[in-house]
Each structure stands twice: as C-alpha cells, then as structure tokens.
Amino acid sequence: MVELIGCREHTNLFKILINVSLRRAASEMEITQTIQETEEEIVDEFSLFDNWEDKYEYIIDLGKKLQPLEARFKVDENKIKGCQSQVWLIADEVDGRIFFKADSDAVIVRGLVSMLIRVLSGHTPDEILNAKLDFINKIGMTTHLAQTRSNGLLSMVKQMKNYALAYKAKAQL
C-alpha cells in the first residue's frame, strides 16, 4: 500500500517532470541557436538579395507577418521614445529567459523589430546584454541605427537591453 502510494506519487512526479521537460524541450527547440547563430542566419538570408528593393520587400513582409500586439499593451508606458512612428515593446521572463513582443504603426519598423525579436527573444539577460547585433550592419540597415529622431531602431535595442538589465537585477535580489 505504502509502496503503491509511493509509486503513484512517483508516477505523478514523473508526469510533472515530463511536462516541464517537454516545455523546456519545446522552448529549447526554438532557441537551440545562440544569438550569434541567428544573426548569421539572417545575414545569410539577406545575402540572397542583390538589390535594396528585395531587401525592403522582405522586411516589409516580415512587418506584415509580425503578430500584432493586443490593444491593451499599446499604452504609453510600453511606447519607445525617440521614434517617429509609434513603437510598443513588452517583455516577459520565463525560466530565466526573456521573451519580447512588439508592434508599430509603421510597417518597416515592424519588420525591423520582428528581426530583433527573432534574434534576442528567448535568451538569458546576459546573452541579450552581450549581443553585438552586428547583423544590422551586415544587412545594410545601419542607417536605421542612426541616432536621429526619425529612426527608433537604436531606441528599440536599448529598450530590449534595458529589460534584460532589469530582469538580471531582479534575479539577483
């Protein structure tokens, strides 16, 4: 009897562990790559384009495909300052990894932010903080990093790193 109960408990615990590991596996499946590897993947994709029109069409396409942020998150406190278009960014932490979601009313910005999410989302605060994000240069989107009022890519990167810093600080409390 005691054994049985113990066994049942063991089984339940096992199931829970499976669930957890499944979840881990699932999330690991998405993020088996390092930030560096995803960056290289994007650079490879862009190397297929031989003119700027194709490049931008691709980014616009990414922008259109980015899942819109629910209206309740499109509030001032999630808005990134310093952008000519409106950009909202939210972050959540699951098991020490940070997941981002974002939206914008301008489609090119949506495309750019969708690439940033692809590269950074699902990584640990340290990984995000150390990310060099060279891919932006390599795919010829540096102009969007320019510190002008019209382009908010730099502000987006900063904000994503700020989230990483905040979650890192929280974890150390």
Binding site: W52, E53, Y56, E57, I60, Q84, S85, Q86, D105, A106, V107, I108, V109, T143, R149, S150
Partner: protein, 434 residues
C-alpha cells in the same frame, strides 16, 4: 554665370569702403535652372547610387558656392574678433560682419540698421522676444495669441512665458484647407491681449497667412505682433515697414545661408525699452561690480562673440538671392509646386494636406494606409530627400487627425524632372508598402 555669383573678399571690402551697392548682374534675366544648379556643389552628389533629389528645402536649403567660399575666405583671410581689435584683421572682420547687417536691413526693408539683431535663428529670436519684451509686458491673466499652425518654436516660448506669468495662450483655428479662420481671429482679441505671434508661411502646409491684415487688426487694439518669417523670408518679398509688424524673425540657413545665424527685427522704439536677453561682453557700455550700463542697439542684444564667419557668409547668400531675383525664384517654384500637387493627387490614395489659395513651395501629403515614415524610407532609397513626420507641428497634425505627413518643399534649383522622380518614387513605394 559663375563669375557673376562670385563675390570675393577683396570686392567685399571695396564695397564696404566705397559704400557702393553690388547691382544684380544677372538678375531679371531669364531663369536658367541648369546654371543655378551648377552653383550648388552638393547637387552633384549621389545618394544610394542615385542622383540626389533634394526636396527638404523647408528644413534647410543647400548652399551655393559663394556662401561656402565666403566662409572659407573669412577663415583664410581675416578671422578676428569683431568690434574690439584695432588691428587690420579685426577691422576687416568687423566691416564684413556689419555689412551683413546692412544687407539684411535692405532684404526686409527695415528703416534702421540697429533694428537688425543677429541671433542663432528664428527659435532664438522668438525666445529673445518672449524672455525680454514678454517678461516686461505680460502680466497675470494677460493673453497671447498664436495660431493652430505654429511651429513648436512659436508655441513653447509663449507657453513657458504663460506658465511663469500665469497668462493665457489663445489659438486662432485652422480650417480644412489649412487656412486660418480669420473670422475667429478678431473675436479672440480682448483688452487682455498683449501680443499676437503668428507664422507668415506654414512650414508643414505652405499656407501664406494674411499677416498684414492680422497686424492691422491687432494694432487697432494696441496689440503687438511678431511675425515668424522662417519659411517666408526666402520666398516672399519682405517689407517690414509696409507690413508694419513689430517683430520679424528669420533664419539664414533657410535662405541658402549658413546655419546658426538669424535675424530678429524689432521696431527701434520697442527694442530700446526692452531689457537685455543675455549678459556678457559686447552688450555692455560700462561694468562695475555695483552696476552695469548697457550698450546701444543692436549690440545690447548681441552678448558674447557672435557667429562671425556664418554671419559674414550670410551676406553672400542674400546677395545671391537678390541676384537671381526673388520674383524669378518664386515663378519657378510656383510651377514646380502646382505640377507636384497635380501629379501627386492623381495617385490613388494620396491626400494633399494644405490646399490654401496662397502657399509657398511646400507640398504635404499622406497616403491612405501607408505610414509617412515608411514612405520616407523608401523614397530615400531612390535618392529622394523629403521630410516625414509632424514637422514640429504636433497640434496641427492633431487637428488633421494624422500622425504626420510626407513633405516635399522646393527651392530655386529643383526641376520638373525631379518632381517626376518623386511621383515615380511614391508610386513604387505604395506598391511595395501596401
């Protein structure tokens, strides 16, 4: 052509010493846009592999060789601090600096040269008036009138003053065409109204406001008027005496001159009783630790070493505009503006913002379902420089319930072919973005 535009320093000093005017040498001749373009070195450059199409002239105009040469010449030949040194370089620099004041006076037809105060630009000019005349004359519950199409530079200084003095800001509304609702204006004036600060030509819509009428009405109520000439001075003939404005402000860099220089015109009797803006060198007559007496006009308002080189080169810009002829430039720009408005409005989804009867060479538009920023990014890749966004006129954009516009603004060196490039660019961009 080239030689006509080149005014060397040697010529300049002769002019100053002899007091002779430079007579426009090519003016009133036929307008040759190719020859004009040759005077602007930047137009030769490529952007992203394409010929530059520069349609952001309302933000800042490109500089002709004569202006660039004047800058270089100043630093090569006679850089010195002005109004103090007794050596030759200081004398030459002072003469050149003061020559710009004379040319600027003529340019806006001010009565006296001491009514021309050099500033860093329109923003500083308005802030100067708000901080000196404003602080002196505005009291609690007083009212300041501006319009719904002001640049932030003509909103914020007054808001700051209102906050400090517990005064009120009143707004002349703007109609659907982007024109002032003049019927509403006179009703806004009350015995509490002290100043009207109004833009002459809107930077985002191009609307030319009936400033003379506004000034006349205001003066009937003993209200002072400041005219923001940031956009108008380059396009329209400015006669501050005829207009009868009390203050007029302009920026050099929008008149093909260097950045960092502007003019504040004020009626002498007003300037004389206004307190100084900044304290420092140049603006003083005598300083003791107990008391300072101030210098006379215009120096009372020009504390510190001014932006000498850019001010000197600003004269070259004004001479250049005079030589080409403002009426020639205007006729050319009007053709481009009308052509651009016609062509752009043919594109499906394009909505022109600002269709006033009288406007400068500004074409502002939006495309249904397309964010102005996206359009601007694509146009940049075609080598076309336009301005996108709210143009520092957020209240006006709110009035039209839009996040911003795409703005193409034309200058003397732009061409119809360039407008065609813009139209093609917009069509292609829409295809990509929609």
């Amino acid at each position: 052509m080239v030689s006509c535009f080149t005014i060397h320093h040697s010529q300049l000093t002769t002019m100053i010493t002899t007091g002779t005017d430079i007579k426009p040498q090519i003016a009133k001749q036929s307008f040759d846009v190719t020859a004009i373009r040759n005077e602007f070195p930047v137009l030769e450059r490529k952007v992203k592999g394409k010929d530059l199409v520069y349609f952001d002239n309302a933000a800042t105009a490109q500089k002709p060789k004569v202006v660039i040469d004047a800058l270089v010449d100043y630093y090569h030949q006679y850089n010195a601090n002005i109004h103090r040194g007794i050596h030759s370089l200081a004398e030459e620099a002072t003469a050149a600096f003061e020559a710009t004041r004379d040319t600027a006076r003529e340019f806006i037809n001010a009565r006296y040269r001491e009514e021309i105060i050099f500033t860093r630009g329109v923003t500083e000019g308005i802030n100067l008036v708000a901080a000196t005349w404003g602080r002196q004359n505005i009291k609690e519950n007083d009212e300041i009138i501006i319009s719904g199409m002001e640049h932030h530079s003509n909103i914020v200084p007054w808001q700051m003053l209102c906050l400090e003095k517990k005064a009120k800001l009143k707004i002349i509304s703007v109609d659907e065409n982007g024109e002032l609702v003049m019927g509403a204006f006179e009703k806004l004036i009350s015995p509490k109204t002290k100043i009207v600060s109004i833009v002459h030509a809107s930077n985002s819509l191009g609307t030319i406001n009936p400033v003379k009428e506004i000034i006349e009405i205001a003066h009937q109520h003993n209200v002072v008027v400041l005219v923001d000439g940031a956009q108008s001075a380059v396009h329209l003939d400015i006669d501050v005496q005829d207009m009868d404005c009390d203050f007029f402000v302009l920026s050099s860099h929008k008149i093909y001159g260097p950045t960092g220089v502007g003019v504040l015109y004020g009626k002498r009797e007003l300037l004389e009783v206004m307190p100084p803006y900044m304290g420092g060198g140049e603006m003083i007559r005598e300083v003791t630790f107990d008391h300072t007496t101030y210098n006379e006009l215009p120096y009372k308002f020009e504390a510190g070493t001014p932006n000498i080189a850019d001010t000197v080169a600003f004269k070259a810009a004004l001479d250049f505009v005079n030589e080409v002829g403002k009426d020639n430039i205007r006729a050319h720009e009007e053709i481009l503006t009308k052509y651009a408005m016609d062509q752009l409005s043919k594109i499906d989804g394009v909505r022109l913002i600002g269709t006033a009867k009288h406007k400068t060479s500004v074409v502002s538009f939006i495309v249904e379902g397309v964010h102005p920023q996206d359009l601007g990014i694509i146009l940049d890749n075609y080598g076309i420089a336009v301005r996108t966004g709210h143009h520092c006129c957020q209240p006006l954009m709110n009035r039209f319930e839009i996040p911003g516009t795409v703005r193409a603004s034309f200058a003397m060196y732009n061409t119809k072919d360039e407008v065609d490039e813009l139209v093609k660019g917009v069509e292609k961009a829409i295809k990509m973005l929609k």
